[in-house]
């Protein structure tokens, strides 16, 4: 017997031994794995419903095939273009605005002294923990037509006529972006703040000795050092550009039909198709469209991240 085959045999019994030793570990892992199977893997074959003419009585597998007609129908309507445009444009706006805000706040907080900065940080994180249903209520308190704070106090004082916010789509891109920043700023700034606090202070000390102003320090030290983090987080967000925060887009505009042109995203479209219109096949087609392009975006973003910094890649 050659040396290598002995080694092989040795390692395979070792493997078996190892496997035996780990049986209890597999048992500990089992419930979690089973849950992922039920929640994430079992529905996957159901994706074929997008290629069927769904009939609840016949079930997914019994329903007749429809080929690509659900997709053809989806892309013939204006809807496909609208929901894609809205989803992507909102995400681009969120990425730019929320990143700029988060970095600004992180820099301000990192230069601050005193206990009050902890209070600031806690306060701006609080909106992140509020459910989107309640956020919908809060927005309604401001924009309700008859009783809303904006119409009754701000516009009235300025002598401007009351605006019927919930039937005018043109205002909603601003409201949605504002609410999104309101919700995300505390969360996003934490990541940048922790990165900032990890920087080597000696850079700043020598810059100060050289007489650099605060603004120069930020421009020539802080921002360049932050660049890798910004790139990583942005790429990750780009990977998710085909997905939207369903609660934000469903609850904040109060599911008002008049606002769909500027508030309908892929997620809300799928949802409405399923639950309100009962058009399961079309809704599934939009879902498959999202899953596949979303998957490609995530793969692409991760590939880029891997090239830049292996540690930060998702896998």
């Amino acid at each position: 017997m050659s040396k290598s085959s002995i080694a092989k045999k040795g390692s395979s019994t070792l493997n078996r031994k190892r496997f035996k030793r780990y049986i209890p570990v597999y048992l500990l892992m089992f419930p979690g794995l089973l849950y992922l199977f039920i929640n994430n893997y079992m529905p996957l074959p159901g994706l074929i419903v997008a290629f069927k003419q769904y009939n609840a009585r016949k079930g997914i597998y019994g329903s007749p095939w429809a080929g690509l007609s659900n997709f053809a129908y989806l892309f013939q309507t204006n809807d496909a273009w609208l929901i894609t445009r809205n989803t992507i444009l909102y995400n681009v706006a969120f990425i730019i605005i929320n990143t700029v805000l988060a970095i600004t706040v992180a820099i301000l907080l990192s230069e601050m002294w005193g206990k009050v900065k902890n209070f600031y940080q806690s306060a701006i994180l609080l909106p992140h923990l509020i459910s989107s249903v309640i956020i919908g209520y809060l927005v309604f308190a401001f924009f309700s037509v008859e009783n809303g704070f904006v119409n009754n106090f701000i516009l009235e004082k300025l002598g401007i006529e009351a605006i019927s916010w919930y039937s005018e789509p043109k205002y909603w891109p601003f409201i949605i972006v504002f609410v999104s920043s309101w919700k995300a700023i505390g969360y996003n700034c934490i990541i940048y703040l922790s990165t900032l606090l990890g920087f080597d202070r000696s850079f700043y000390e020598s810059a100060m000795i050289d007489g650099a102003t605060k603004w120069q320090q930020i421009k020539y030290i802080t921002l360049p050092l932050l660049k890798p983090t910004v790139i990583m987080l942005t790429l990750m967000a780009v990977g998710r550009i085909f997905y939207s925060d369903f609660g934000l887009f469903y609850q904040v505009p109060m599911n008002q039909g008049a606002l769909y042109p500027t508030t309908q995203t892929i997620d809300t479209y799928v949802y409405r198709g399923l639950l309100q219109l009962g058009n399961i096949s079309m809704s599934a087609a939009a879902g498959v469209y999202q899953s596949i392009i979303g998957f490609a975006m995530i793969l692409g973003a991760n590939m880029l991240v891997r090239k830049l910094d292996k540690e930060s890649a998702l896998w």
């Binding site: 190892r18 496997f19 780990y22 209890p24 570990v25 500990l28 419930p31 979690g32 794995l33 039920i38 994430n40 529905p43 996957l44 159901g46 994706l47 419903v49 997914i60 600004t104 706040v105 301000l108 601050m112 009050v116 806690s122 306060a123 701006i124 994180l125 909106p127 923990l129 509020i130 459910s131 989107s132 249903v133 309640i134 919908g136 209520y137 809060l138 308190a141 008859e146 009783n147 704070f149 009754n152 106090f153 309101w182 934490i190 922790s194 983090t229 990750m236 949802y271 399923l274 639950l275 399961i280 809704s283 599934a284 879902g287 999202q290 899953s291 998957f295 930060s312 998702l314 896998w315």
Partner: protein, 299 residues
């Protein structure tokens, strides 16, 4: 040493942060004040920070007169949050512990199995069909606990990386050599060392259960008695929308709820919906921040 410039920078910082803090809190303040406003005054003057007349009527309505449905929904919210969080933490610990083992046979496969769920999913429609047709979760309390919320890959990976970096391998090996079973090692050695991350994951899970309205909206069709507080708030708002859009829809919109409570009562229910979070927040804020930092770029 604080230079003049530092001070100027700080002043600007305090001004900006004060504005943002104000901004973050003011809608919540408006909500609480409206819940304490007299309904007639609110209808007349609109939502206001300085109402003409205060009243505890909304809270009396909930606790003394008609609030059975609100209190019940509140109880269900607490129930699903507690049960869901406990199960979620146990599942996450078990799976993360296995994935943290250096030489676990099949580790690569299991890691991929977990990560893949973050990259690709069937989406709403297949998930809905799966839970309703195969598991018959529709109109059961399980519908509020099981779909999507019970465990997620992100928390598993978060905990796994803490186990790898925060629990020294030597200690686990030593426990094994001393004859501890895997279960003993996990419960007596690893878990105590991983308390911070367990607290973080528990909080992430707890908040997503408390705030969830989606599952109830999708899966609770007839059993409105199983509504959580978020589902109740959602339904109230839908009813109001239905009323304003189409008066003939009243009967339809009202299904499950006898009457539509006044604006102040709605604001009081929403206040109750935020209350537990505001109460718990100061205590958990630190581990929350820690969790976000740990999740960091991988978020």
């Amino acid at each position: 040493m604080k230079t003049k410039e530092d001070i100027r920078f700080n002043v600007i910082g305090h001004i900006v942060m004060a504005i943002l803090t104000f901004n973050a809190l003011i809608p919540i303040v408006l909500m609480i004040i409206s819940s304490l406003t007299d309904n007639a005054a609110l209808m007349k003057n609109g939502y206001s920070f300085f109402p003409e007349k205060l009243s505890l009527y909304a809270y009396k309505w909930i606790f003394a007169f008609n609030g059975g449905m609100v209190i019940r929904a509140y109880g269900i919210s607490f129930f699903i949050t507690i049960v869901g969080t406990v199960i979620s933490v146990l599942l996450t610990i078990g799976l993360a512990y296995g994935l943290s083992k250096r030489d676990l046979p099949g580790k690569g496969f299991f890691t991929f199995y977990v990560v893949f769920t973050m990259l690709f999913n069937g989406g709403l429609v297949p998930t809905y069909i799966n839970y309703t047709n195969v598991f018959h979760l529709k109109d059961t309390i399980f519908a509020l606990i099981i779909p999507n919320l019970l465990m997620n890959a992100f928390n598993v990976l978060l905990m796994k990386s803490y186990f790898v970096s925060g629990v020294p391998y030597e200690i686990i090996e030593a426990a094994y050599i001393d004859g501890a079973t895997e279960f003993q090692t996990l419960s007596k050695v690893v878990t105590p060392l991983a308390k911070p991350i367990i607290a973080t994951v528990a909080m992430f899970a707890g908040i997503s259960y408390w705030n969830d309205w989606n599952n109830g909206y999708i899966y609770l069709v007839q059993r409105t008695d199983l509504f959580s507080i978020q589902n109740l708030l959602n339904r109230l708002m839908q009813n109001i929308n239905a009323l304003t859009q189409n008066a003939s829809d009243i009967a339809n919109a009202n299904s499950g709820l006898a009457e539509i409570p006044s604006v102040t009562v709605r604001m009081a229910i929403a206040t109750l919906g935020i209350l537990p979070i505001i109460v718990v927040y100061p205590f958990v804020q630190k581990s929350f921040v820690k969790g976000i930092t740990l999740g960091g770029v991988k978020g």
